[in-house]
Amino acid sequence: MSGGGGGSSRPDPVTPVVPGKGGDGTGGGGADPCVLTEETTLNSPVPAVVSALKPGDVLTVSLERGPPLRVVVRTSAGLTAGSITGAKLPQIIACLEAGVGYIAQVISVKGAAVRVRVTNA
């Protein structure tokens, strides 16, 4: 919690823009909120699944209703490798709910730490 103050600008809020709202499919006239390229480390990795992953593998990104509701990354065999978290999660969920597809390409695997690049399918 320690630190200095002094910033003047704030990042975009985490409230998702609903795809298609505003009639043009772009969430009201701006850049399409569902066009996404993001690198992240999978949380809640499943050791038995991630141990078989290698760089370049392409995984699917999907909603797992749960509860809890999660965005999970699955292999082509349908096995859950881990989950995606972070401030952009509400936006990704809104886009998945609207039918937008994403893939996650494996960048690196080190132990249970799997880095993926999430892009539009």
Partner: protein, 396 residues
């Protein structure tokens, strides 16, 4: 049935530019501690201030970690922005404009309390782990009326010094046992590990080496894992702190939540004792800022540093060069900021390598061709600021 763990503390958005790619998370100390312990069988209830930016989304963002959130309103959600993970964060809005909220009261058998920017947690607990979370003006646990039958204070060295007005951390630990009416005091000492004090005496536990470092939130993970060990597993506090140190190393290396609780084989950190020559250009604001920042971080890691601009200053070639050359001889290693390919820096790297001194190079935007001689002469070159500086601090 296991007793639930109530965690009161900050939930904040945290963005970090380096190491790349940028991370953008919503955890804060309390959110991260609650997430860290998913899968342990401990039911976790998070008590935190949540503002308008996060109110409708926080359950989605943290919901996957399977803990309950008791929200208390705040007018704005502070954001922490880090240039790199060892940086002093910029907090928006300005600290002075963040309103102080009425305290959150928590009555629980088991609790973790973190200090907060915008308010406070008043805890009445059977067992409690308290992390003051304030570098400047940490509060004692009982100062706000909090009570605990069994208290463990987990503070960093700066907080312990501020709370006791002493620089000797062993003395500080003993003093805090008395002044805080604590059963356990743990003082986190960075690369030096931690001091654990209790009625059984004072012990030191090591920190453990990692290959790469993403340090944001590592202290929160330590607190969560220590609390699990001490409160739920009934471990001796020294054993609980040792496990927390090992698991924290897992987290620093992987950033994975919930934490990996395995205690894999790791080397204990052996902190280097010599002096590091800080080579790099300082002729523009950006260059000078980076030299200052590298020096600040190294000094914060308790590394002795010779910096030409700080320790010699500006002057003529006849005046400056002999002093800098002399300092290269005296230092046992060099940290070189290679970006910009400054002629003086490249000369200093070559001079140090000719003397057989290890050179660690920070290079984030340099063509591979330009690094050929540097890499080929066994310099350790990295674009990862934090990992490189931690490597310098642990050099053998």
């Amino acid at each position: 049935m296991m007793i639930p763990l109530h965690i009161v503390g900050g939930v904040y958005r945290e963005r970090c530019q380096w190491p790349m790619p940028e991370t953008d998370n919503v955890f804060g100390s309390a959110g991260r501690a609650a997430a860290a312990l998913q899968g342990t069988g401990i039911e976790r209830i998070l008590h935190a201030y949540i503002g308008p930016d996060l109110n409708d989304t926080i359950d989605l963002i943290l919901g996957g970690f399977e803990f309950r959130i008791e929200k208390h309103a705040r007018p704005i959600d502070p954001v922490f922005e880090y240039v790199h993970c060892l940086a002093v964060p910029t907090i928006t809005p300005d600290l002075i404009t963040i309103p102080r909220m009425a305290p959150i009261h928590v009555t629980a058998e088991m609790a973790i309390r973190f200090g907060m920017l915008e308010g406070d947690g008043v805890v009445d607990a059977g067992m409690c782990v308290y992390d003051p979370q304030s570098a400047y003006l940490p509060d004692g646990f009982r100062a706000n009326g909090s009570k605990a039958k069994r208290l463990a204070l987990v503070a960093n060295s700066g907080e312990a010094k501020a709370l006791t007005k002493t620089t000797d951390l062993t003395i500080a630990a003993k003093a805090l046992l008395a002044s805080e009416e604590a059963e356990v005091v743990v003082i986190k000492c960075g690369l030096d590990g931690a001091i654990v004090a209790s009625a059984n005496g004072v012990a030191r536990i090591p920190a453990f080496a990692v290959d790469v470092a993403q340090t944001i939130g590592s202290g929160d993970v330590f607190v969560a894992v220590f609390a699990k060990g001490w409160m739920y597993d009934g471990l001796d506090p020294v054993d609980a702190a040792l496990i927390a140190s090992k698991v924290t190393a897992n987290f620093i290396e992987s950033s994975i939540l919930p934490v990996e609780l395995d205690q894999r084989s790791r080397n204990e950190i052996r902190k280097a004792t010599g002096k590091v020559y800080l080579a790099g250009p300082f002729f523009s604001i950006g260059q000078r800022w980076l030299v200052d920042e590298v020096r600040r971080v190294l000094l914060g890691l308790d590394v002795k540093v010779f910096s030409p601009v700080h320790d010699v200053g500006r002057g003529s070639a006849e005046d400056i060069a002999p002093k800098d050359i002399s300092a290269i001889h005296e230092c046992d290693a060099m940290l070189a900021i290679i970006d910009g390919i400054d002629s003086g820096t490249i000369f200093e790297i070559g001079y140090a390598r000719a003397l057989g001194k290890p050179v660690f190079g920070l290079a984030q935007s340099i063509p591979e061709e330009d690094l050929k001689m540097i890499v080929g002469s066994d310099c350790i070159v990295s674009a990862d600021f934090a990992s490189l500086l931690l490597q310098v601090a642990q050099r053998s």
